[in-house]
Symmetry: D2
Subunit: 371 residues, 4 copies
Amino acid sequence: MAVEQSPAESPMEAFYRDISAKSFDALWRRHGPPTPTADEVKALYQPHLWRWQDVEPFLYRAMELVKPSHEDQRRVLTLDNPSVNPMHAATHTISGAVQVVLPGETAPSHRHTMAAIRFVIKGKGAITFIDAEGCTMTPGDLILTPGWTWHGHVNQGDAPMIWMDSLDVPLVSMLRHGLYEDYPDQLFPATKPIDDSLHRYGRGHLKPVWDKTEGPISPLLSFPWEQTERALHELAQSDQSPFDDVAFEYTHPTTGGHVLPTIGCWIQMLRPGVKTLAHRHSNVSLYHMFRGSGSTIVDGVQIDWEEGDFLAVPPYAWHEHHNRSTSDEAVMFSTNDIPVMESLNLLREQPYLQHGGHQPITGQYSASTGA
Amino acid sequence: MAVEQSPAESPMEAFYRDISAKSFDALWRRHGPPTPTADEVKALYQPHLWRWQDVEPFLYRAMELVKPSHEDQRRVLTLDNPSVNPMHAATHTISGAVQVVLPGETAPSHRHTMAAIRFVIKGKGAITFIDAEGCTMTPGDLILTPGWTWHGHVNQGDAPMIWMDSLDVPLVSMLRHGLYEDYPDQLFPATKPIDDSLHRYGRGHLKPVWDKTEGPISPLLSFPWEQTERALHELAQSDQSPFDDVAFEYTHPTTGGHVLPTIGCWIQMLRPGVKTLAHRHSNVSLYHMFRGSGSTIVDGVQIDWEEGDFLAVPPYAWHEHHNRSTSDEAVMFSTNDIPVMESLNLLREQPYLQHGGHQPITGQYSASTGA
Amino acid sequence: MAVEQSPAESPMEAFYRDISAKSFDALWRRHGPPTPTADEVKALYQPHLWRWQDVEPFLYRAMELVKPSHEDQRRVLTLDNPSVNPMHAATHTISGAVQVVLPGETAPSHRHTMAAIRFVIKGKGAITFIDAEGCTMTPGDLILTPGWTWHGHVNQGDAPMIWMDSLDVPLVSMLRHGLYEDYPDQLFPATKPIDDSLHRYGRGHLKPVWDKTEGPISPLLSFPWEQTERALHELAQSDQSPFDDVAFEYTHPTTGGHVLPTIGCWIQMLRPGVKTLAHRHSNVSLYHMFRGSGSTIVDGVQIDWEEGDFLAVPPYAWHEHHNRSTSDEAVMFSTNDIPVMESLNLLREQPYLQHGGHQPITGQYSASTGA
Amino acid sequence: MAVEQSPAESPMEAFYRDISAKSFDALWRRHGPPTPTADEVKALYQPHLWRWQDVEPFLYRAMELVKPSHEDQRRVLTLDNPSVNPMHAATHTISGAVQVVLPGETAPSHRHTMAAIRFVIKGKGAITFIDAEGCTMTPGDLILTPGWTWHGHVNQGDAPMIWMDSLDVPLVSMLRHGLYEDYPDQLFPATKPIDDSLHRYGRGHLKPVWDKTEGPISPLLSFPWEQTERALHELAQSDQSPFDDVAFEYTHPTTGGHVLPTIGCWIQMLRPGVKTLAHRHSNVSLYHMFRGSGSTIVDGVQIDWEEGDFLAVPPYAWHEHHNRSTSDEAVMFSTNDIPVMESLNLLREQPYLQHGGHQPITGQYSASTGA
């Protein structure tokens, strides 16, 4: 089996040559990236901030340049964190984007194995169609388009409709499970009443008595801002997290769990002047700063943000939040991969124990350099 | 071992005598109530209606005669279905009652292994204290006092506060697990903010991110009518059950399941003029007719009810509902033992298939005779 | 509404009369059995011991007197604890019995909503048929006949086959859910291979890859003594409970939970000379002393037992076990209502903390008096 | 914000340049690998066969060349499927390897977030230590070393001990969660009895009554071949899958689910002469051919294998198995990523419906070319 050894070749070299020819490798010579210990672990890529002052003008230029269609897909600007190589995504598991649909426009129905959520930023009068249901869209609403559901959008209002998209594209791509189909017509027919799932599950903890929904996909597809906002103000009176201040996860009405098996959705409110304590965890977060202004310190670097900005925080990065206003609340919507890390038993969290729980600030985030 | 047989005694009689002396019985001579087949099964006791026109004057007399205290317990009138022998209860698993607390009064804290719910009928300004939390009470609100929680009531308003109680007393008594304790002082101290659980879980499907609640007891203790009413009207636009029309179960926010392991709570709305189809099931229901007027046909007997009435429907009784008004909705709150029957794998349901799904009416319910 | 008061009648008496006429009662005058506090709670009925030296001769007499048929049901002697009034059962939730089938006999198929287990005491060559499956029976085997499954027995061996039955009859009767049907023919046809479920699930923690079994009923119907005995001896080397020594619960292979939703099954081995510590709990236990001899002290009374005896321990009775032999193991099989108490959130356990964990012995159990 | 357009640059080009400078991309110009529709989907990489006739001599050469230590890690040959770029692994989620430990040798304890299983191929007298427990190793045994458990191996026998390793390394690496630590000493101390978990959970469906194990990691760490082999022969008498013949998944004793959250383990037996039907699915499988010889047809290519070979089957490849012997059984052990695909709602399966369920054979697998 073994090939003759050349004079200059050591027995070990010959061995490596031989096993390689048969598609084996020797674990002891494998030179991958060094695997850190739990104490040494650091964020493996950089956080990134995308500013609304950049996004908004780009959206206006895109309105002129592109029209949604099956050919051109959506009028979507993706958030590409330059440090998440080789992916074009905000984080290594969760992607983000901003989409705009003009009055009168239709983004035709398609479906894909990748799941998505939409968080509405601006506009009024648009509807997202998910399989047979239409969901109205108002700023602050969260809308789910689970994997392999037909979905399209129509703007019947009189102003551009802008929302944040967040998907599990990087995760599903790594798992080699990306399937995609266009619906043969413009829109999959909406045979259910508008906001049907909201009317079945959305108002209080009440379930239609005949409902037998099971499985990991929330049957409730829209979570209106009106209720979310009230909930934030009421929880603010009752309790807060030292790391996240007033913070909710959106939940699946018939299991109480995550809304999707691959994407967790959070809404949180930093009360005026609040500085949270620092911690880090194995999951990522992708924030949209829905209201207010503040700073997030990530691995010692202060990242100042304004209303509308997007911020990606990588796994194992120490981070803490600060609402810079002493009078106004700041509201952050975010998506994360907690459901994935939890399912796979990989979720870890660690509080920052030095300096009273706050990181020393070692630099200011600069848009041009990343960090 | 066997005793000598007397001359007149057959070998079988001697056998029965001998085994009985040693605390055995012979299964083949056991004469219990005949066990029916699935086809033969009938309601084993009668439905019963308690009329608000009777209840209300009794409550006013009770206000003069009794004062809540640890000695006299609560000012509570229990619903005693005469046909549920030997129990004093509305059904064999779920009991019901009406309680009134006068302005300025306190019903001191106690706790018991039996779980209870309160559904508010009239009044304003009272608070139910459940362990460390106070829950405000408004007509139509559902309040939970789970088993072994300290609970007391205070009326700080200016009118009598009246509510329906429903408990698992008959079930827990059968299971020989009734424990009871008075709190040494008037009220267990309320150290949490008023309506704390409502502010944590009550507004939409949102869960505080730090929450780790598990187990079969809902951490949400109050379900306000404001949301319930809106939900009923929205579901009315989307979907209905042929047997129950517009009907919700109240749910546990972190599991999506029943609010308590022994009592299920439903709210349902019969749209104007609606006649539901008949069915029957192994679980009981105890209704409070919160709004409107209608008729329920139970095993062919028409039971007319008005706002405020209470109706117990026994297991395996065919039943269907009719909103007699063509202009007004009727709203029925009810408790049931579905969680128990489901846990023990004893839940069965059967639709009525004859006569287009409606029972022939064979009689009118008469208060004096029961059925 | 109120009837006129008679001269001798107080206002309260008149009130009681009036509400009673309308099927109400006043909670404050309710005189039930006094509800104890958690500290005061005591066993509400007595333990009971049935001796094999009584059982065995009765079985032989019953063999002559009765033949299994649809008319005479089974040749079954039930264990009637005289203190569990008004039930004829070993405990208030779980009943027990001994059944014997002679060589060549058939106990015809029937089904009932009550679930049962069989624990084989003596004999060889019998088969229990459960729906379409036949399960072989060998001493020490546990066989399940879940609620509403057709089941019959055939003895194809050459000696009487004797086993313990344990059912949820008292529980299901209290819940008014007892349904019963005879199979029109002798035996429901066995279309599956003998011991089919044992061959699918029974050998190690392995599940057929196509299996989708769900729900609270174990798909594995027989648990052979050969494996149980080996498990007991291996666990004896690894770990023990202070209250139960070497003790296993039989489990549901696709959920890891209880084998039935209403009956838990345990097997335990007291190593030679072992004295366990005392504790008490809200669940009952009904023991069959399969091997060895020992004593169980229940609420201070010492109950000596021999191989073959049956012992019912009521809820909230302090109890501890003693293997009187210093050379031989004692093996106790038992059924319990833990699954019920757990589902309904009523399971409580309390260790005995005085006297080093052992009760002072205050008396000896006497068969004639009960305790 | 927008930079001036150069003369030769179109507005779209300028737009792309501008957004790119701010770390955005336009979804509509994204050129990734084309995403297939559900009908078009094909295996994204090639199957691979590693032959025992190659492995065994390499192992003997490795015995001379390497000694296990913290520096050199393990004497492990990894299975590197050349088509799974850019990973060095058998599949994109599950890796495989062969490890050998010589008599008297110790592979020192380390731990990592990656979970592993061992399937014993040859030898006797070795022990794998997992945290405080030692598990004996016999050919055909499955041993689990869950993520972040300390594990080391000692060979106390007199022949080399050879086993298959399979890990979730590619998955955990993609998820950026690889942590690694060497134990400071040779072996983490084994304070539990040998085969402790086997003695607690391993013999039949029995659970120590005091056990409260929860969570997704099986507390049973070893699954002995003695029981597995008996189970295979018994299931062969009862039932089979058309796609996998006699096939079991190893299960978690207290949940009935997968043994690990990231790796599923199967054992299957092809009865003599059996040809299974073809199907495909979104999960991968990595087989070790433990006994016998046969052929697996993957996407039309016939792959002949002998005892000891390893075969990786990629997602969405059509495949069917054939036991070429008409007298001997073939036994295949395999690992898969079904638990992952199931948790993330990405598990899909499809039967092959043409040609009576069997693929036309279009080629023979050649070791040198891959496929």
